[in-house]
C-alpha cells in the first residue's frame, strides 16, 4: 500500500517535471502579469548577472533586481535573482567576514520574499543551500560542522521536490568537494556526483529564458579540472 502510493507520487512528480519543462507552461503568464517590456528588461538584467564576476557590479545588479521587483511585485524571479547576485557577490568579494554575513542576510531576506511569492520551491531551496555554503565559507573552521549538514539536508529537499532539477546536484557535489576527506569528502568522492549532475543538466530544458538555468558552465569547468588533473598525473 505504502509502496504503491510512493510510485504514484513519483509518477506524478515526473509528470509535473515534464509539464514544467514545456515552455508553454509558465512563460506567457509571467509576461501577461507584468507590464510590457518587463520580460525583456528582466531577461537582459539576468544576462548581465550571469556574465559578470565583478563584486561591485553584482551589488549594482542586485539593486536593479530590487527595482525590477517593484515593477512586477507578484513575480518571484527578481527576488530570486536579487538573492543570487548577492550570493555570488559574497564569493567574489574581498570584504571581511562580517560584511559578507551582512550581504548574506540580505540575500536570505530577498529569498524569503521569493518564497512568499510561491516561486519554484526546488530552485529556492537550492539557492538556500548555496547560501549555506557561502556562510560556511566565511569561517570554515567554526562553521563546517553546522553548515555542511544544512547544505546536505536542504539539497536533499530540493532534489525530492524536483528530481529533474540539476542545480541541487551541483550544489550537493560542491559541498562534498570542499569537505575534508577525513569527513568523507574530497575531490575523488565528489567526482561521481559531478557526473550525475552533468547527466541532469544534459536532460534539463529551462521552461523559459527567465527561469533559473545557471550552473552548467561552472560544472563543465570543474569537470575540465578533473581532466587536467588526470592528464598531468
Amino acid at each position: 500500500m505504502k509502496k504503491s502510493f510512493f510510485t504514484l507520487a513519483l509518477a506524478a512528480l515526473s509528470l509535473a517535471a515534464a509539464a514544467q519543462t514545456t515552455p508553454a507552461a509558465s512563460v506567457p503568464k509571467t509576461a501577461a502579469a507584468a507590464p510590457a517590456g518587463y520580460a525583456d528588461l528582466l531577461g537582459a538584467t539576468i544576462k548581465e548577472v550571469m556574465s559578470t564576476g565583478d563584486a561591485a557590479e553584482l551589488k549594482a545588479l542586485a539593486a536593479k533586481m530590487e527595482r525590477a521587483a517593484t515593477v512586477a511585485p507578484a513575480d518571484w524571479l527578481p527576488r530570486y535573482y536579487q538573492a543570487y547576485a548577492l550570493l555570488i557577490n559574497v564569493f567574489q568579494s574581498k570584504e571581511d567576514g562580517d560584511a559578507k554575513d551582512a550581504t548574506l542576510d540580505q540575500a536570505e531576506a530577498a529569498l524569503a520574499k521569493a518564497r512568499q511569492l510561491k516561486g519554484d520551491e526546488s530552485e529556492l531551496l537550492t539557492l538556500q543551500a548555496y547560501i549555506y555554503q557561502a556562510r560556511l565559507g566565511v569561517s570554515p573552521m567554526l562553521r563546517s560542522m553546522k553548515y555542511s549538514r544544512l547544505v546536505t539536508e536542504t539539497v536533499a529537499q530540493a532534489k525530492a521536490l524536483n528530481p529533474a532539477n540539476p542545480r541541487p546536484y551541483l550544489v550537493g557535489a560542491n559541498n562534498v568537494y570542499y569537505t575534508p576527506s577525513v569527513f568523507g569528502g574530497g575531490a575523488e568522492a565528489a567526482k561521481p556526483l559531478y557526473e550525475e549532475a552533468k547527466a541532469k543538466f544534459a536532460a534539463f530544458k529551462p521552461a523559459s529564458a527567465l527561469v533559473p538555468s545557471w550552473g552548467e558552465r561552472q560544472l563543465l569547468g570543474r569537470l575540465k579540472q578533473y581532466e587536467v588533473a588526470t592528464a598531468t598525473k
Binding site: A63, T70, V71, A74, G97, E121, V138, S139, V182
Partner: protein, 746 residues
Amino acid sequence: MHTPLLPLLLAFGTLGTAAAQPATAAVVAPAATGPTHLRGTVLDGAGRPLPGVNVFLKTTFDGATTDSLGRFAFTTTASGTLPLVCTLIGYEMQEMPLALSGGNLDLPARRLRESRASLGTVSIVAGAFEASDEKRAAALKPLDILTTAGAMADIASALNTLPGTTRVGEEGKLFVRGGAASETRYYLDGLPVQSFYGGATAGVPARGRFSPTLFKGTMFSTGGYSAEYGQALSAVVGLNSLDLDPETQTGISLLSVGGSLARTKRWDRTSASISADYTNLAPYFGLTAPAQRWELAPRHLGGSLRLAHRTSPAGMLKLYATYGSQTVASRQPDPEAAYAASGRLTGLQNENYYLNTTYRTALVRGWSLNAGLALGRERNAVQPEPQQLTERERTATARLVLTNDSAATWFNLKVGAEATAQRYDLSYRATADAPVYTPGFAERRTAVFAESDISLSAHLTARAGLRGEYSALLNQANLAPRLALAWQLGGGQQVSAAGGVFYQNPTNDLLRVQPALGFERATHYILSYQYQTSARTLRAELYRKDYRALVRFDRYNTLNPAAYANTGDGYAQGADVFFRDRYQTFKKVDFWVSYGLLDTRRQYRADLAAAAPTFAAAHNVSVVGKYWFAKLHLQASGTYAYGSPRAYYNPNQPGYNQARTASYQSLDLSLSYLTHLAGHYTIVHLAMSNVLGRDNTYGQRYAALPDAAGHYASVPVRSLVPQMAVAALLISINKKTPGDTSVAPD
C-alpha cells in the same frame, strides 16, 4: 503514507499557483517627453553622505546605487509622475512623487532616517556569556565545553574558565562573583533543575548530571539576568536542549573508567534517543593511587530517554527523562583523635530521577506559547562516621510563557507564570543508637513575570522586566524589578548596563531547622563594554552586588531554631575581563584569557564576623588554548588556571577567616584525534588534569574541640582526585553522514 503524498501535493500546488498569479496593474507609460536625467545626493540623519542607497523610480528598472559620496545619477525614459524611492538596509524607506518632464533634473539632497534597531539583532551582553551556534554574538560554541582541557566534558568546569568565577577545587561547583554555590540556579529549557550536580562528599568534587552533547546552547549569566529567572542571588545557567536529533545513529563510548551506549533513531518529524552509562573508578585508583583511602571508589550508573516531535513548523514537543545512581565511600584524614589512625569513613549513596517536558507552538497574531513541566526526585544519603543523614526531596514545577515578538516593530512582550511544589525531609542520627531527628518542610511557590525588549533608537535597546513571587512556606511575597540597556557604538562595540533585585529562598539545610525565615536578597549593578569582530571578542565588566537579609545561625548550636534569622549582609565588587581570539593572531590557535578581580565580604550562616568568605579568591585567571593540526586531524588543548589564596578560619588565632590557603594552580591538557575505525567516525580522546601534579590544598579542617593545651588540631583539606587521566574512544556508527563531531557521543 503521509510522506509520499506530500511531494504530490506540492507538485500540483506549484502548477496551481503559477496559473493563478495575479495580474500586475502598473504599466510604465511609453516615453512621450524624451528621457529625463536625474541627479542628486542622499545623506543620513546627521548630514553625512550615505553610500549604497538604491534610488529608483518605482515600477521601472531605472535607478542607481549611491556612490561613496552619496551621489546618484541615472536616466529614465518614463514620463508622468512616478514615486522616487530610496532604500537601504537599516534605514527607513522613503518615497516621494516626482514629475518627469524630460531634460536634466537636479534633485535636492534627500535625507534617510535610521530605523530603530531591529529586535533580535541586538543582544544585551551585560553579565551574560553564551555558547551557541545560532547567534553570532556568542562568546563560546557548544563544542567548546567538550574540547576545553580540564573540563572533562563537565558543563560547570568549562564555565569555570570564564571570568567572574572562583575555582573551589574541593567542591567542583560554580561560585560566581563572590556568591556561594547555592546562589547559582540551573535551568533546562526554561525549567529549574532541582539538583544539577551529582552527590558529593568532602574532597570528592561534584560533577554536573547532564552531558554537554544534549544542548545546542548554553547561557551563563554572572548577574543582572532577565525577569524570567528567579530564585538565584548570583548567577543563572540556562541550558537549551537540542530539538530533533539530526540522524539515526549508534554511539559507543569506551572510557578508561567506564563506558556508555546510545542509540538514536530519527524519523521525519520525530526522534528518539536512549542511552545508558556506567562509570567505575575502582580499577583506575587501584592502578594509580593504591595508597589512597578509597573504601569504595566512585561508581555511577545512569540512563536517559529523549523524545522530540515536531508538531508543526513552529511547534515542538520534547521529553527528557534521566536516572542516575551513585555510590562512593572514602577514608579521609580527620583532626578528631578518634580517627587519627585510619581516617574517617564517609559513605554516600545518591539516587536521582528527573523529568523535563516542554511544548512550544505558535499561536495567533505573533504570539507563541511555551509550556513545561519538570519533576525531580532525589535521595541523598551520607554517613560521615558516626552520623547518618538521609535527605529526600521531591519537586514539581509547571511553567507557562507567552511571547509576542511582533507586538510592535519596536518592542516585544513576554509574560509568564511558574508554580513550584517542593517536599523536603531529613532523617538524622548523630550516632547509630541516637534518637532520629526528622525535620522537613513543604513549600508552594508561585511566580509571575513580564518582560519587554524595547528598541529606543537605532543604537539604544532596553530590556525591562518585573518578577513577583509568593512563597507559602515563608508566607512572604516579593517584587523584583530588572533593567538592562545596550548602546551600540558601531564597529562591533557595545556599552551596556544591567541591574536589578534578586530574591532566593534560604537553602534546604536552613529551612529544615527553621522554616519561619524570609527571602534572601541581592541587588546587582553591572557596567559592561564589549568589542567584537568575527574572530575576536573583548569584554570588560565592572560590577557591584549588595546582599541583604542573609540567614545567620549559631555556630555552636546549629540545631537551635531560635538563633536563625535574616540578619546577615555583605557585598561583592570587582572587574572581569575576557578576551578570545579565534585563529586570528595565530593562524591555527583558538584561545581565550579570563581575568577576574574580586573584593567581597559578608557575614552569613555561622560566620562570627564580617569577612571574606572561604569560597572567594581575589584574583582568578584562566588561559585556554586549542591548536588544530589539520593534517594530522588532531586537536591539542590546554588550560591553565590560577586562583589567588582564599580565606579560611583558624580557631587557634585571633580574628575570623584570617588564615590564607596557598594559591590554586592547575595545568590541564587534552588531545583529540579524529579518525575512522572500520569505516565509522571515531574520536580518540586523551585528557589529563593537573599535569604538573601540583599539591593544591584548600585550607585546614579543625577539630570541634581544643585539646588539653587549648589548641585545635587540624588536617589540610585536599581533593581526593588531585590529578586525573582519562582515555576515551568515541565511535559513532552512522550510515548517512560519515562524520560530524557536533553529534559525537560523549
